[in-house]
Structure formats: structure tokens, C-alpha cells
Symmetry: C2
Subunit: 101 residues, 2 copies
DNA sequence: ACCTGGTATCATGATGTCGTTATGCAATTG
DNA sequence: CAATTGCATAACGACATCATGATACCAGGT
């Protein structure tokens, strides 16, 4: 339960999701992620480190660059499922609200 | 992305997961959740409130009791999928570690 | 050996979250 | 109506997290 909560926490931060989203199409180096997300370099580095420690992402130094890529693309399914559930939930909430008027 | 992160955050807390787990088998009132989780009453109330606001759980007052239940059991699938991914990730990490020795 | 571009880390301040204790309040019971 | 039970909320302290700016690090290239 501990560990699972920690895992969910990885995805509980908008900028981390943005970084992850940037990595949807494959391997990118840090600067590329910075460009695609518009976040500061320090921030991207930090989030990438966290994602690496969590095992969500893999680090691959190549010359003077460092490439990162998602280690298991199933994370994107997890994210999609959460999105779907979130939408369903919102719909349900609106329905309940409407029914109470 | 904002909203999705917030949603993940709901599941990023061990005690909240414990409360949710207590609700696996159906509707429970606050005291019952307190008993099953061993958490303080105030804490359970707070987490249940959060879960309600997030739409994950529904509140149903009944006489002097207040029952809560999961609004969409699909959350449990989300949780299971995260557990599965987490395990796969850990395996992968161990393999990588072993390979580097 | 020195730059330079790319990446990591540190220190800090601001903000958020968690859990506790104590209290409030509503419904039920006596 | 008084007492009790069940739940919610407030105030507080401890701690975690996030973003930033500054700086360190490191590999190539000159």
C-alpha cells in the first residue's frame, strides 16, 4: 500500500505528466524535453531523475547527451485509463448535480 | 493535465488507499471504516471527504449514520493495473541491476 | 588546457499535505 | 430536555514537495 501510493504519486504532478507526455513518441535528450515542455532545465532534470528512480523512465547517456525513454509503454495505458475514469466520474457528478435541482 | 494529476493525487496516499480498500466489499459507515482501517475517526472523515469531492466515493446519510461507497468500481481496476505495472517495473529494475554486476 | 553546451545538483523560500487534539453539531435515545 | 453516539471541522505543528537561481560537473571541440 505504501509502495503503491508512492507509485501513484509519481503521476500526481502536472509537470511530471507533461514530461512523460513529451516522451510518448520515443527517446529524447534533456534539452529536447525542455523544449517540448517549456519547463526550466533544472526542473526537467529533477523530474526526470524522479521518474528514473521510480523506474518509469530509463536513462541512457550517449556522448555528451543524456537520453531518456519510458521503460514500459504500459504506463500510457495506465494514464489513459485514469483519464477515462476521471471523465466518467465528472459526468456522474454532473448528473448527480442536475438530478438534485 | 492539471486535472489528471489531481486525480492521481487522490490515490497517492497510503491511508487513502486503505480507506478505499475497506470499501471494496460495499457500503460502509464512517465508524466501520475506522474499525477496518485502524485510523483515527478524524482522519477517516477527512479522507472520505477528499474522496467524495474527487467523486471517487459517494456519501449517503442514513439516519444518524453516514454511509460511503465507491461510485465506480472501475477505480479498483485502475488500482490493480497500477499494482501490476509497479511489479513489472520492480522486476525490470532488478533485472537491470543484476545485468550490471 | 580552455571553452562551451548539455546535464545535474544545491540552497532556499513558498506552499501544500498529513495527522492529532479538541471541539462542534446533528440525530437518536433515555 | 439531557445525555450519548456518530460524524465533521478547526487549529496547529511537523514535514514534504515544488520551482527558481546559482553553481558544479563533464564531455567534446578548438
Amino acid at each position: 500500500m505504501e509502495a503503491l501510493a508512492e507509485y501513484f504519486k509519481v503521476f500526481s504532478e502536472p509537470n511530471r505528466l507533461a514530461v512523460l507526455d513529451a516522451l510518448r513518441e520515443g527517446s529524447l535528450n534533456v534539452t529536447a524535453v525542455v523544449e517540448r515542455t517549456g519547463l526550466s532545465q533544472a526542473l526537467v532534470s529533477k523530474h526526470l531523475k524522479l521518474l528514473t528512480i521510480a523506474g518509469v523512465v530509463q536513462r541512457r547517456p550517449e556522448g555528451s547527451l543524456v537520453f531518456y525513454e519510458v521503460s514500459d509503454r504500459a504506463v500510457f495505458r495506465l494514464i489513459s485509463q485514469a483519464e477515462k475514469l476521471l471523465l466518467a466520474t465528472r459526468r456522474q457528478q454532473l448528473d448527480a448535480l442536475a438530478a438534485s435541482l
